[in-house]
């Protein structure tokens, strides 16, 4: 009996240890960023999910550059998650020095909370978007359903995977790109709405985030087409070269992930100089080439041309300004009771 109790305690102890480890793994990122963000020779970059690999390499590049320029060691800590929740964490007190998020709307939310000064999007070139991307289709090898453009997505029997724009900031680009297609093909407002309704009726799984949707399509093999960010589509193609093809639709949207210095935090940390340099260096030729390597489109025209083999540069890309900016777009399409809700309510 006694022996048994001892063994049982061991099993319990091991399980507890496993639990503790999983907890530690879960919190690791946050606790680290908290401590490093505060010191003056370290900065914290709060970013969104798909930029993880890019910034890991960029940070090394920047540290080397900074050492050469100023002779100072610098440590950059990165934090990744859904763009909206990352913005929220900064508003709620995550000590980010710079934010590099999926859409300007999320940075505006931080601005509205009083942490970033107005006019941040004019501080750097191209609306403070050092790299851009667009929305493309990822289809299974062979493209059996013959998907070429947006109107093929509303055909009967085509199963579409895309995340929910109400929980994923990135998915707003998907919705708006489809909307732009309707508008550019002479559909009226009403017809475009009908078109999107049909499209979302074909949506099999409406994941809460972009990485979740990619997982559903790539790993769980659901659906015929994934509406995805171009850089995510290329990444999936890189890991599964024999399984997928990328289809570029005739019309899409220029997705502009934006960057900004969090003014209040850099004042507190005394890291303004280095934070501004960190973002500015994103526009250097080396960094722009790195951007292309990770399948984002460099914002510098000359460097973008170097990648003309990789990207379809003839796509007709609309921008968020064609929708009257993010605030207007949210009001019209994504707020509660707005167009997206109507599509499902009918």
């Amino acid at each position: 009996m006694k022996k048994r109790t001892i063994r049982r305690t061991w099993v319990k102890a091991i399980l507890l240890a496993a639990m503790a480890f999983s907890l530690a793994a879960g919190c690791g990122d946050d606790s680290k960023s908290d401590t490093d963000g505060g010191s003056s020779n370290g900065i914290l970059n709060v970013s969104y999910d798909p930029t993880r690999e890019f910034y890991a390499e960029y940070n090394e590049m920047f540290c080397g550059y900074w050492k050469q320029e100023k002779g100072e060691e610098v440590e950059v800590t990165q934090s990744h998650g859904g763009s909206g929740s990352q913005a929220r964490s900064v508003i709620e007190g995550n000590e980010a020095d710079v934010v590099t998020l999926a859409l300007a709307h999320d940075i505006t939310a931080i601005e509205n909370a009083g942490l970033i000064e107005a006019g941040w999007n004019e501080k750097l070139e191209g609306n403070s978007a050092p790299y851009t991307s667009t929305i493309v289709f990822l289809v299974r090898k062979g493209n059996e359903k013959n998907i070429k453009d947006w109107d093929d997505l509303v055909e009967d029997g085509v199963e579409v995977i895309t995340p929910n724009p109400k929980t994923s900031g990135g998915a707003c680009w998907n919705f708006l790109a489809a909307w732009a297609y309707g508008q550019q093909n002479g559909m009226t407002e009403k017809e475009t709405q009908e078109f999107l309704k049909k499209l979302y009726q074909n949506v099999l799984v409406l994941d809460s985030g972009a990485r979740g949707a990619t997982n559903t399509f790539v790993e769980n093999k659901q659906g015929d087409v994934l509406i995805a960010w171009e850089n995510e589509a290329f990444l999936s193609l890189e890991t599964h070269p024999d399984d997928f093809e990328i289809v570029t639709p005739s019309v899409s949207i220029l997705a502009q992930p934006s960057v900004a210095v969090v003014d209040k935090n850099v004042e507190d940390h005394g890291t303004r100089e280095i934070s501004e340099a960190y973002l500015k260096y994103l526009y250097s030729d080396d960094a722009q080439r790195l951007v292309g390597k990770y399948y984002y489109r460099p914002s510098k025209e000359e460097i973008l041309q170097e990648f003309s083999e990789q990207f379809d540069l003839d796509m007709n890309l609309v921008t968020i300004d064609d929708f009257g900016g993010w605030n207007k777009a949210y009001e019209t399409y994504f707020d509660d009771g707005a167009l997206f809700d109507e599509i499902y309510a009918q």
């Binding site: 099993v11 929740s85 929220r88 939310a109 809460s208 559903t216 769980n220 093999k221 659901q222 707020d335």
Partner: protein, 283 residues
């Protein structure tokens, strides 16, 4: 070891290990910081909106359908957990077999595993391309991305509650009762339903309630397997997330408050029923 325990109180009522004040203080501090204050903040946050707005938010069609999905799936999951949890506890207490201790330890894995990991692997297995999902797909049943999938994820996260509630009671249950019942001529079924089950029922009910409450609030694992189609497979916690994503804090807490109240009401009912039944059993 057990025999060495001596009377720990002297005349003044001082215990061997002193410190009631200290330990009570720590308990209260922890409870306040971790449970009471966060819960109170929900009420404070909701109080920023008027009653009318609150009612409007929680009775909007999308939110109501979210509640429906969460409650029905959690209910069925808790029923399934009640049945299988009882069998599992029975096997673990009453029989000896190789690997029993490992199995016993594994019951707690759903507690230890990050729920997102569970969600992703369940989806992988139960999608129509997955190992298990494939078999059901041939029979025309889709599991992942339907309410069945949601229920399965909730069964996964809820099973330890039932097993761990029933196990100790079952272990303490004197087998002489069963033997006596048998000797008095009761058959196996009668012995189980009239002698064993009434003893286990309060524990089973407690486990059921905990599993149900956990299912209602579960987000991490369900969101991957749910499909998240509005009005069909969208759970209430996802709607909370979607409100947060729009920076609508009070809307989100309004939805959460209803979940909290329902869970609380449920636990209250189950506990009252338990107390009532214990009296009934004693008399």
């Amino acid at each position: 070891m057990e025999q060495q325990i001596v009377k720990v109180k002297n005349k003044k009522g001082v215990r061997v290990i002193p410190g009631f004040g200290l330990s009570m203080g720590v308990t209260l501090a922890m409870l306040s910081c971790i449970v009471l204050i966060p819960l109170a903040s929900i009420f404070i946050s909701v109080s920023k909106i008027s009653l009318q707005e609150f009612v409007e938010i929680v009775t909007s069609r999308q939110v109501m359908s979210g509640y429906m999905v969460s409650f029905t799936c959690a209910f069925f999951a808790a029923i399934i957990n009640g049945a299988f949890g009882l069998v599992l506890a029975w096997v673990l207490v009453r029989y000896d077999f190789p690997g029993k201790r490992i199995m016993d330890g594994m019951i707690e894995l759903p507690f230890a595993l990050p729920t997102a990991v569970a969600g992703i692997s369940l989806t992988f297995l139960y999608s129509d391309q997955g190992w298990i999902g494939q078999l059901f797909d041939k029979a025309g049943v889709r599991i992942a991305y339907t309410r069945i999938g949601i229920t399965i994820a909730m069964v996964f996260v809820g099973i330890p509650f039932v097993v761990r509630s029933v196990q100790p009671v079952l272990a303490k249950l004197d087998r002489q009762y069963e033997e006596a019942a048998m000797m008095l001529g009761a058959g196996r079924w009668r012995t189980f339903f009239r002698v064993v089950l009434p003893e286990l029922f309060p524990a089973l009910l407690a486990g059921f309630g905990l599993a149900f409450a956990r299912g209602i609030g579960e987000y991490g694992s369900v969101v991957f397997i749910a499909g998240n189609i509005p009005y069909e497979t969208q759970i209430a916690p996802l709607l909370i997330m979607s409100k947060l994503e729009q920076f609508k804090y009070s809307d989100a807490t309004a939805i959460a408050l209803v979940l909290l109240l329902v869970s609380f009401l449920l636990m209250f009912l189950i506990n009252s029923l338990q107390i009532y039944m214990q009296r009934f059993v004693k008399n």
